[in-house]
């Protein structure tokens, strides 16, 4: 499989100012690395899940790939072409190949446009003059399993699940090659989120697109992702094939996340591992291994030395001084 998207050592930095921004900026300016050197690849027809908790930088990563945030360092290659630092004018034609879905199903739809206008907007933006928009609208709605009479509705007349489907229809309108999906199941009930995941899977089989899913929900990851990467404080601490990571996590944080994901079974036995404290702020990164203040297995070395990337097999890696193979 050819690599569709290759991200290397990406760094996205925001300036944080104490005090309200104004013309007189007497407050001290500080920089925070929301994404601090992240690398990943997505191949055609493959799904990669980026898993992390709030503040881990996963949304920033997706938005930087989509060119919505400026990345200071590293590279983003799409089909071999460097995207980072591309002028908006050069980037624009490429955008039809990279579709993005946002967290809020209803809020990511322009509120004063009808569903038909919304899903056929990509044709107008990318100048597909030969298309019959009415026909396309019906085709797209059918593709995501909505009836044609949804075309005249406004976003506020849609349920979360329906709005999500409209979002998928719009994202796939101009046949993108890569789909960036930021928390695609956020705000959906369990009974509905399956529908969306099934739909995404079906469309991926049919269209062969690469998907990057950003999520905090490990249950979702298991069913949609070929590979998964765990993000902590803007860096990946572990990556590997989904099945292998679930079966035998190497990094204690991965293990903690898996343990923190209770199954709906009162008798289920878990490798109980509970983290202490809360995630540190990226403004104030711990020394050594950044996870050590919360790690139940931390030793002296962890506080001083930054762990390097280990590759036990060709398709896995992790950053930990004391990796253990946890059998679940």
């Amino acid at each position: 499989m050819a690599a569709l998207l290759e991200v290397e050592d990406l760094r996205v930095r925001f300036s944080v100012r104490s005090g309200s921004a104004g013309i007189l900026r007497l407050g001290a300016q500080r920089w925070v690395d929301a994404v601090a050197g992240a690398s990943l690849t997505v191949s055609e027809g493959e799904t990669l899940a980026v898993v992390g908790e709030s503040g881990s930088g996963k949304t920033t990563l997706a938005r930087a790939i989509a060119g919505l945030y400026h990345a200071q360092e590293g590279s983003i290659r799409f089909q071999g072409q460097e995207l980072r630092g591309l002028a908006e004018g050069t980037f624009r034609p490429l955008r039809r190949h990279i579709a993005m879905m946002f967290q809020d199903p209803v809020g990511s739809l322009s509120p004063r446009l009808t569903v038909k206008t919304l899903i056929t907007e990509p044709y107008k933006i990318h100048n597909f003059k030969d298309r019959d928009l009415d026909e396309e609208a019906i085709r797209l709605l059918d593709m995501v399993g909505l009836s044609a009479d949804f075309a005249s509705r406004y976003p506020y007349q849609l349920s979360g699940g329906q709005a999500r489907r409209v979002g998928v229809a719009r994202a796939l309108a101009v046949d993108p090659k890569l789909l960036l999906a930021d928390e695609p199941t956020a705000g959906l009930d369990v009974s509905v989120q399956g529908e969306l995941l099934n739909l995404l899977g079906k469309l991926q089989d049919r269209l062969g697109i690469g998907i990057l899913i950003i999520t905090h929900n490990l249950n979702v990851v298991r069913h949609v992702a070929d590979r998964m990467a765990i993000m902590y404080l803007g860096r990946f601490v572990e990556e590997g094939p989904t099945g292998a990571v679930f079966a035998a996590p190497h990094h204690p944080y991965t293990l903690a996340l898996l343990a923190a994901n209770p199954e709906p079974d009162p008798d289920a036995q878990l490798n109980r591992i509970e983290l202490v404290g809360e995630p540190p702020s990226p403004l104030d990164r711990p020394h050594g291994c950044e996870f050590h203040p919360r790690c139940p297995f931390a030793r002296e070395q962890c506080a001083t030395q930054t762990p390097t990337r280990h590759r036990p097999t060709a398709d896995r890696h992790y950053r930990c001084h004391w990796p253990q193979v946890w059998r679940r």
């Binding site: 104004g22 013309i23 938005r63 989509a66 060119g67 919505l68 980037f91 624009r92 034609p93 955008r95 039809r96 990279i98 579709a99 993005m100 946002f102 967290q103 809020d104 809020g107 990511s108 739809l109 322009s110 509120p111 004063r112 446009l113 009808t114 907007e121 990509p122 933006i125 990318h126 005249s152 509705r153 406004y154 506020y156 007349q157 719009r170």
Partner: protein, 286 residues
């Protein structure tokens, strides 16, 4: 469930018709607008024709609300005054709204330094007390309709500019705008198709609430003799005539004041009612 998609205008109209105060506002505003449009035909006398023989007459069948110290028919002057009020209010607010819209959008969507610059400029102009500033300009160029329009317009721009900027900034980081950008929509397209419709609602409300303020300002300046030039009839000028002659002709003070108060009141009611429709928070509940 079936959804009827009604046009925005019909939603607003049907709301206004159900709200008694909004309806009253709409009616009076219509009357004033009608009077202003047809003033040339419906005024019983020439509002500026002098007729010293008939000066300071009380209400009668010939002159319903009497005449002033120069014998001009007060009724005709009041009707014409409505036209002057709107002649000042509409271009003033239209201009301020347009300039404010452009500046606010540039500030909200443009680079940080431009935003800072525009905000500083708006804050500066906002800090001129309107009437004081108007008086300073009038002192230089003399009173006239144009002066009043330009001065009030300039001092009104910051209000609109700031509202548009705040709205634009809030919308800019909204997911639907990010979604448009990720699809490759150009900045002009985002501004025109996605920002403008969402900014216009609150702006229209602000403008309709501003009309009474501007009408009152014009009348106030004319009352001071710093607004429209005599003999142009303005409600403020009629009030001033009445003020100086209050002992002989109390009807003049009433004739100038009542239409002014009623008009500003009804415009305000209309604006309040409009806000109830446009305000998204209230709208969700319906």
């Amino acid at each position: 469930m079936t959804y009827k998609t009604r046009s925005e205008l019909r939603v607003i109209l049907s709301h206004l018709l159900r709200d008694p105060l909004g309806l009253a506002g709409l009616a009076i505003v219509a009357v004033v607008a009608f009077g202003a449009l047809t003033a040339d035909w419906i005024t019983p006398y020439d509002p500026i024709a002098l007729n010293i023989m008939d000066r300071l007459q009380g209400p009668s069948a010939a002159h319903w609300i009497g005449t002033d110290q120069l014998g001009r028919d007060t009724m005709s002057r009041v009707i014409m005054g409505g036209r002057v009020a709107l002649e000042v209010a509409l271009p003033t607010i239209g201009g301020a709204l347009l300039i404010g819209l452009v500046l606010g959008m540039i500030a909200g969507f443009g680079p940080r330094w431009l935003d800072n610059l525009i905000v500083l400029l708006l804050d500066t102009v906002r800090s001129f007390p309107t009437v004081m500033f108007a008086l300073a300009v009038v002192a230089l160029v003399g009173p006239s309709l144009q002066t009043v329009i330009v001065v009030i317009m300039v001092t009104s721009i910051p209000t609109y500019g700031r509202v548009v900027r705040t709205q634009t900034l809030a919308l800019k980081s909204n997911e639907f705008i990010l979604a448009e950008r990720s699809m490759g929509a150009s900045t002009p397209r985002i501004l025109a198709v996605h920002m403008l419709p969402n900014v216009m609602g609150p702006l229209a409300v602000l403008a309709s609430m501003d009309i009474p303020t501007v009408i009152a300002l014009e009348a106030g300046l004319s009352f001071l003799g710093m607004g429209v030039k005599p003999p142009t009839p303005s409600w403020g000028a009629i009030l001033n005539d009445g003020y100086t002659l209050v002992r002989n002709t109390p009807w003049l003070v009433i004739a100038g004041g009542i239409p002014l108060i009623v008009t500003t009141l009804e415009f305000t009611f209309l604006g309040e009612s409009l806000r109830d429709v446009v305000d998204p928070k209230l709208r969700k509940q319906r």
